[in-house]
Symmetry: C2
Subunit: 347 residues, 2 copies
């Protein structure tokens, strides 16, 4: 299995990506994963030597290959323009490798708009999929909830949300290991009659589908672990996601402040910090190692720009699972089945 990794993606590229690839090999040296490390060859060779030395390993050619890319799309580049103009960038080359069947998956911690644009252009949409969606595993009380879309499609139609449900359901089952995932429609009341124009029109479509649709869910149902796949338009999903990140950070800050004020707590502070740090890591979306772009031909995982090498390593393993579980062909099949059975909705 070949995983194309954008070595130049993320705030701390290329080192985090190179180290991530090395860590992945170190953890599973006998896996069938071959990482294609994409970026300026000379630079990557140096970085690789550095981390092979650090971890005292030598990665065989069957597990790692450097693919030269002379250009870099950075975080501030305009996605569409950059993809058009920087044809020799690691992002464009990575997406092309998958599009031309020279790799099974593409992973990048880089400019997410550019990764999406390149994936749509070079990997292309799966036949019958209207809108690929970015999904995120959000930490919840008892596990994780896949939220989609979280930003690829600000305005949606019912058929889009239905397809998000189908794709998310497959991902939750195959990659997250959730049997018969509960699919919920993000709305403002449990009743079928509550919602906005989009959700009111989407409800009956989801209800009619073969998904394990549990009806409308409210904002609070996500952290409460009442739903496995939360379906919404990319505007709502993006606002939720960023609001959640900000709120989590705010609460940790305020809790630390509140605890510091209590003299009786001082002696225990170092241990409290340790416990909080552990928890924060556990519920940090970064630890999962990326958000899958579902609906394109091939696995494509987009990570946080602030990812560290561990997040990159985790992203590689998540990607490998998605590839080995045939997520893409499962989506292809389910979408085709649905479209055949519902020619009126297929569009």
């Amino acid at each position: 299995m070949k995983i194309a990794l954008d070595a130049m993606g993320g705030d701390n590229a290329p080192s985090i990506n190179v180290e991530g690839a090395v860590l992945a090999f170190k953890q599973k040296p006998s896996s069938k994963i071959k990482v294609l490390l994409i970026g300026p060859e000379k630079l990557l060779k140096e970085e690789l030597a550095k981390y092979e030395k650090k971890y005292k390993i030598k990665i065989p050619a069957q597990n790692l290959e450097i693919v030269n890319a002379g250009e870099v799309i950075d975080m501030h580049d305009h996605p569409a323009q950059a993809v058009r103009n920087k044809k020799d960038s690691s992002i464009v080359i990575g997406a092309k490798l998958v599009g031309e069947k020279n790799a099974d998956a593409f992973v990048s911690m880089g400019n997410s708009g550019a990764v999406m644009t390149a994936a749509l252009l070079h990997m292309k949409r799966i036949d019958g999929v209207h809108r690929p969606a970015i999904s995120t595993e959000f930490p919840t009380q008892d596990g994780r909830c896949l939220i989609l879309d979280v930003g690829a499609n600000a305005d949606c139609k019912p058929i889009h949300l239905l397809q998000f449900g189908i794709m998310g359901s497959i991902y939750a089952q195959k990659v997250m290991g959730i049997q018969n995932p509960r699919v919920g429609l993000v709305s403002i009341g449990e009743e079928e009659t509550k919602g906005n124009e989009l959700t009111l029109a989407t409800y009956p479509v989801l209800k009619k589908s073969s998904l394990n649709f549990i009806g409308n869910i409210e904002g609070r149902d996500i952290p409460k672990s009442n739903v496995d796949v939360a379906v919404c338009d990319g505007f709502v999903g993006n606002v939720i996601l960023k609001f959640g990140e900000g709120l989590g950070r705010m609460l940790f800050t305020l809790i630390k402040k509140a605890l510091k004020k209590h003299p009786m707590v001082w002696a225990a502070l170092p241990f409290i910090w340790l416990a909080l740090k552990g928890l924060r890591k556990k519920i940090d979306p970064e630890e999962v190692g990326g958000a899958p772009l579902l609906g394109v031909n091939g696995v494509c995982i987009i990570g946080h720009g602030s990812s560290g090498s561990k997040a990159v390593k985790n992203a590689i393993f998540t990607t490998a699972r998605a590839v080995s579980k045939n997520v893409t062909s499962e989506i292809k099949e389910e979408i085709a089945n649905f479209n055949t059975a519902n020619p009126d909705l297929a569009g």
Copy 2:
């Protein structure tokens, strides 16, 4: 100043409401507030006697009056039907008291849909206001952010969001005491070009207005205290609000669990719980004492069904501030001014 209080609203009615009214008088016995306690006269007389005895005070007739209401709209009643059929309910009578100028404000911890329906029917919209909005003071890192709409209008147009901005700005200034409040449009990117159809169309309207418009804000800007008035449609606002409540609860639960696991922390646990309890209270939306319905003729504050007597007391004081600061007439004036200056948008 007469404040009509729905004595039968909330999960623990009427006691929390009666006790709340008594606590408000106890805290500010020389205020000019007269609470009109609405509900079954006999029951309320008994409750009042109980709490007057408990707090060893006797509230003079100029500060409290019981207004008889034979019916109760409960949490499960269908809002529109209940308001139509239960004309002798405390919610309908409370809204009517304001509508007929026999009270300055109406406060209820009851069925929020019914309160809104009754307010729209009997207090009526302010001239020129398209859609009244429910707003909420959301706790942030350094203070509070007024989010509106949080549920009254699932689908909105740019003129609605603009009016939310005007009304929210006045409320933030007059009641929350924020000078020149920063108004932000909830979206999915800072740039003017990021958003969905609604926000893309709303941005230029807000930019042209005389509001202190700071542009698009993202979900994370609310907890980060980067904005004082966050404007969005009622669908997005409601999802954010409930997601935030759920996430806060989840984090407190997980933090407690994580801390309990560390033996070195055990001795300090009682003090940690105390600190966390204090913080939780500080950031509990309930403590503010209710969400104002802005855009109706008169002050109308809707509280959580789970409110306690302290939340009721706080709601009474918040309401009194809104009345004494002439929030309603300020909104009337600003909306009229805007509509005169922008006849094309006034609709």
